[in-house]
Amino acid sequence: MNLTERPVDVYQPKSFGLDMDFYLRAAASGQVHVQQCETCANFQHPPRFLCSACASKHLNWQAIQGAGTVYSWSLSHFTIDSAWTDSLPYATVVVESLEGVRFVGTFSGPQNDLTIGLPVNIRVESIGKNFAYIWFDSISETSKENG
């Protein structure tokens, strides 16, 4: 199984505050941005008011490089979310970016390829202004497509 398109009516959180900032930035730029601490250079996600490494309040948004490796995943054969029923079984994947922060998203490659450490590209699909969907694309697949 692989999932190259997300369910059409996927849940879009009505975020506010820093979480809304996260989605507005990703949707507008087409790139995932995370907080970086001005004081100690720590990257963090999800966004918080303070740096989780040094408690500084001086945090800036930075675009990530856009690559990482699979850390883990959850493969559902059952769902209570009707948007996902037709996609069963589907994987919800955790990827660690080069910056060392982890994101939840959907893997576009074959589920059977999922393994800890699998290199992926991190891609954003903007859905309107307020939400952005995070995809993980297999790097080997991309290079094959590119010849």
Binding site: V10, Y11, H45, Y71, S74, L75, S76, F78, T92
Partner: protein, 395 residues
């Protein structure tokens, strides 16, 4: 070692336990069940509601003030609500012990319950009490970052670390299978277990559907409407009551970091129990080799394996092998969930595990008795991996 740890250990005793049946039929009001279990625990202790001056209720279902109003507790001096999901019930024991040890309260009611079946995720929406507070500490993060990708259920979030655990340690699927089958066998020896008369075979287990890899239906806890309660009082007062006092020897809670997000923990397999367990054993001045049984919060079979490792029973990745080779049945080298657990007894928020521990140590468990049990451990597990632990012993 911090000196006041010693003072908390053995400062109080569990003197009364009570529980309701597990229901999966008509809709119930969880508050009513919690009150029924509370009255049962007070009756079991031979105490009156007027003796109670501390209350620890579950988050969301009833407040300590409502419990006090309904039971006629007119001098409430201490109330606190623990927000650790399924780890709350056992964590509340530590808080109760602190209140008693310091003299803030002398008799504390810890009551937990819910409408786990009536308000299960697949049930139709029903009117709720205005006072109900279902939100958990991680709710904001979950809806923003997990739910869009189809992960809305606990088993899907825990799937992140169960999957990693299975792959990193090449864990045998026999481990989870034995946890589930042993729980059912223990339920058959336990009055009040929801699945007492429903044996589970290896074949039934293996043909049950996978919910989230590798968790099968029979690895998942029951959804039941139920409540359970325990009354604790000072060790001195406990000696005057009619049951053999069951002494609180140690307890602790632990929170993985960050507790509100599974995915960004430095090591996703470090649970709250990993930090809590050593502190509880230090407080009790005991080791796992002194322990006669474990009641482990079993929302999913695989989470039991992780907790057995967090308790120090085996090295990381070794629990499945232990379960298969050493055994967790009544005749095994470490009996686990001797009432059937959340898997087969019912989902009493782990307070049913506390009730079972007290009954075992009273030597009141009939054919389900761990013969000669002197020390028992109960764990709680909840939210996104919070952990709690309590160690009890016979006076």
């Amino acid at each position: 070692m911090i000196s006041h740890d010693t003072k908390l250990s053995a400062s109080c005793a569990a003197v009364g336990v009570g529980e309701t049946p597990h229901y999966r039929s008509d809709p119930v009001d969880a508050a009513q069940l919690i009150l029924e279990a509370s009255v049962a625990a007070l009756n079991d202790a031979g105490l009156s509601p007027k003796d109670v001056n501390g209350i620890l209720p579950p988050e969301g279902y009833i407040s300590s003030e409502e419990i006090a109003a309904q039971l006629g507790i007119d001098d409430l001096r201490y109330s606190a609500t623990i927000h650790m999901g399924g780890a709350s019930s056992v964590a509340a024991l530590q808080s109760a012990a602190m209140a008693i040890a310091t003299g803030v309260a002398d008799t504390v009611l810890v009551a937990f319950g819910w409408d786990g079946y009536t308000s299960r995720p697949t049930a139709p929406q029903r009117p709720q009490r205005a006072s109900r507070l279902p939100q958990r500490p991680f709710a904001e993060l979950m809806r923003n970052y997990y739910a869009p990708y189809g992960a809305r259920l606990a088993v899907q979030w825990y799937g992140f670390y169960i999957q990693r655990y299975m792959e990193l340690y090449d864990v045998s699927p026999e481990g989870a299978l034995q946890v589930a089958l042993t729980a059912r066998a223990h339920a058959s020896l336990t009055d009040g277990a929801y699945l007492k008369d429903k044996p589970l075979t290896r074949e039934q287990y293996l043909s049950s559907p996978v919910i989230v890899d590798p968790v099968r239906r029979y690895d998942c806890c029951l959804e039941t409407d139920c409540a359970a309660a325990v009354v604790l009082t000072s060790r001195e007062r406990a000696r005057d009551l009619h049951h053999h006092p069951i002494i609180f020897l140690g307890g602790a809670e632990g929170h993985p970091h960050p507790a509100d997000d599974i995915t960004n923990r430095p090591d996703m397999l470090q649970l709250g129990l990993h930090s809590a367990a050593p502190r509880a054993f230090q407080m009790a001045e005991l080791q796992l080799s002194d322990v006669d049984f474990l009641q482990v919060y079993d929302c999913y079979s695989h989470v039991v394996l992780l907790q057995l490792e967090a308790l120090g029973l085996t090295e990381a990745g070794g629990a499945a092998e232990f379960v298969v080779n050493e055994g967790i049945g009544l005749d095994g080298s470490m009996p686990v969930n001797t009432h059937g657990g959340l898997l087969s007894h019912g989902h009493g928020w782990g307070m049913n595990h506390v009730v079972e521990a007290v009954r075992q140590l009273r030597h009141d468990r009939g054919s389900g008795q761990v013969v000669g049990a002197q020390v028992g451990v109960v764990t709680g597990y909840g939210d996104l991996g919070d952990g709690s632990v309590a160690i009890f012993g016979r006076e």
